[in-house]
Subunit: 214 residues, 2 copies
Amino acid sequence: MITLYGYFRSSAAYRVRIALNLKGLAYEQAPVNLVKGEQRSEDNLARNPQGLVPVLVTDDSTQLTQSLAICEYLDEHHPEPPLLPADAEGRARVRSLAQLIACEIHPLNNLKVLKYLVRELKVDDDAKLAWYRHWIAEGFSALEARLANEPGTGTFCHGDTPTLADICLVPQVFNAERFECDLSAYPTLQRITKRCRELEAFARAAPGEQPDAG
Amino acid sequence: MITLYGYFRSSAAYRVRIALNLKGLAYEQAPVNLVKGEQRSEDNLARNPQGLVPVLVTDDSTQLTQSLAICEYLDEHHPEPPLLPADAEGRARVRSLAQLIACEIHPLNNLKVLKYLVRELKVDDDAKLAWYRHWIAEGFSALEARLANEPGTGTFCHGDTPTLADICLVPQVFNAERFECDLSAYPTLQRITKRCRELEAFARAAPGEQPDAG
């Protein structure tokens, strides 16, 4: 059995849940409560010295970390339906859209970063929220410009089937909604997110649907 | 001719330079001066709405963004020497090590983030340096634990040939050295970095060797 160590609100775990669902793979969830600090437990550090989720343990006990690496692994082991296009240019575009989110937006709005702002830099609630919204706006503006103008965009971020880019987009939009970011300037992101959410694989991966949802 | 829009001190551009050199590909450099704000120019925004470097323009005029996506594209188009292992588990490990750096360390210490700390949060020089060193220490501690303990580590991050993980490691160590971070707790990172720097592909990609080096 595949085991996913995750947390319902972790958007990196959310990405992996979507990928597992799209592939139609059964998995059990082992929640690691990030708010209670369970990621710093000895058990979790043994699984991942970074003390992060997700960690995916495959049925042959391989331990995998980093959500995008896990998704690519799943795609290589279970090729159907593909999470990346068949052509190298398409794959580069999808990976680049995914990384725009995973390397440019998400890392700045992580729980550990927000905690550092408050604890070390004594940032107040307003400034913390402004920080959060700043990186969402900067990243989403660029993403909207790409998705609205590049010919590769279809019903989904790339063509008419969901890819790794959509797997990153939907959890990031969920986070932005949770922090009440104004998303009116990003109609293409909203259109694609709405379409993704109609799919059972995305709907079933949503934070509120998880066993550890508070 | 391949054209790399980059900046000598951008570690994302540095990664792509190493990959191009490892593949033995000729390319011309088109410097975009990040300190002078040239990334916000109309020309550069047309290449990349994020206003970031690197952008790689291939000989058939395909424009590629996001350094890891560019490296994987180069690896797919020019398979020798490979930047990823032949097995899916190995590829997942290398991608996860690369992403530990590219998604967890580098994004927090980017120039645009340091500027936000100073301009918006009125952080002083000492606190800015502490921020920088905090994310290096957190990320490098986890990376050292992985590289020192995981059986996949060899002369390089994975086995005995350089991979995408080393391509991310060396520029990140360069940055850490520039900010005078104490690296004594990371002997494995230091050993691998030293070995990489002995290779011409890495040495020739170093910031000080670039045409736009100040």
